[in-house]
């Protein structure tokens, strides 16, 4: 991929990816860091000659694993940090009135990812399976469950 092609792809993929990450982690700063790191990894390690949905899938997978790494690191540092004993509870830098984001965050990470790929990116089942690392046959069932879970959360709000 050359620089011009990357710029085009970036401008197409980045806003939705940044939104997805910030909806998942609740922090704008972290979302921006994770998005940049995901694109850097994509540029450095993604196989060449991928189609656009596959490239997007690669980015979403990378972002998910970066978020998991971040949460693990945070959990570990919180466990061992003396600061935790003394500091007050910090509020994340997200808009507290954002009910949609809160409802979305009540879903399991895999459900969030599946719904996003299906409805926001408009991926078909094969592309979702590839991006989310699940079998194509199980995408329909998993999506059904995710929809049901989201409906339940929204009804409860």
């Amino acid at each position: 991929m050359n620089q011009t092609a990357f710029r085009e792809f970036y401008l197409k993929a980045a806003p939705a990816l940044r939104s997805y990450i910030s909806r998942n982690c609740g922090s704008y700063d972290l979302a921006e860091d994770v998005m940049q790191e995901a694109f850097l990894r994509f540029l450095r390690t993604a196989p060449t000659g991928m189609e656009e949905p596959a490239m997007k899938g690669y980015l979403y997978r990378t972002a998910d694993s970066l978020l998991v790494d971040h949460w693990r690191r945070e959990k570990r540092s919180k466990r061992w940090s003396l600061e935790m004993i003394f500091r007050k509870e910090q509020t994340p830098d997200r808009n507290p009135s954002d009910d949609m984001a809160e409802a979305f965050c009540e879903l399991k990470p895999q459900q969030r990812s599946l719904l996003w790929l299906a409805y926001v990116e408009g991926f078909d089942h094969r592309e979702i399976a590839e991006a989310a690392g699940v079998k194509e046959n199980s995408v329909k069932v998993l999506l059904f469950r995710a929809r049901k879970a989201l409906a339940a959360v929204l009804e409860g709000k």
Binding site: Y28, L40, V120
Partner: protein, 123 residues
């Protein structure tokens, strides 16, 4: 079977998800990071990794040379110590005094090597 969920225009869940997907950072007037900068960072990182990979053999050889130099130095230290007599260890017999002298010279060499090692590895 493939089905594109995003194309269901009348599906309320699809509408809800599309609403959710609107980038909250866009509304807080935070522009996307510059793609050209990201591209350059990736190129720089790639070059750095390639340079480190090519230097790996040189570093291995350097370490091997240091070990050999240390071994040669310790042999020399023993040789030098045989001709030394440290007055502070006068209460020891001549063999014990030579052993002690050898130990002192070896310790000095190790200390010099430890101090010098980070200086060498900087270049």
């Amino acid at each position: 079977m493939s089905h594109n969920q995003g194309s269901d225009a009348n599906d309320p869940m699809a509408a809800w998800m599309r609403q959710l997907a609107i980038d909250p950072l866009e509304h807080s007037h935070r522009p996307l990071p510059d793609p050209d900068l990201l591209w350059m960072r990736a190129q720089l990182l790639n070059r750095q990794v390639a340079a480190e990979r090519s230097l790996r053999v040189v570093r291995w050889f350097e370490t091997l040379l240091r070990v050999l130099a240390g071994f040669a130095a310790s042999l020399m230290a023993v040789g030098i110590a045989k001709g030394l007599h440290i007055p502070a260890f006068g209460f020891l017999n001549s063999t014990q005094n030579q052993t002690m002298a050898s130990l002192v010279v070896a310790l000095v060499l190790v200390a010099v090597a430890m101090v010098a090692s980070p200086v060498w590895s900087e270049d």
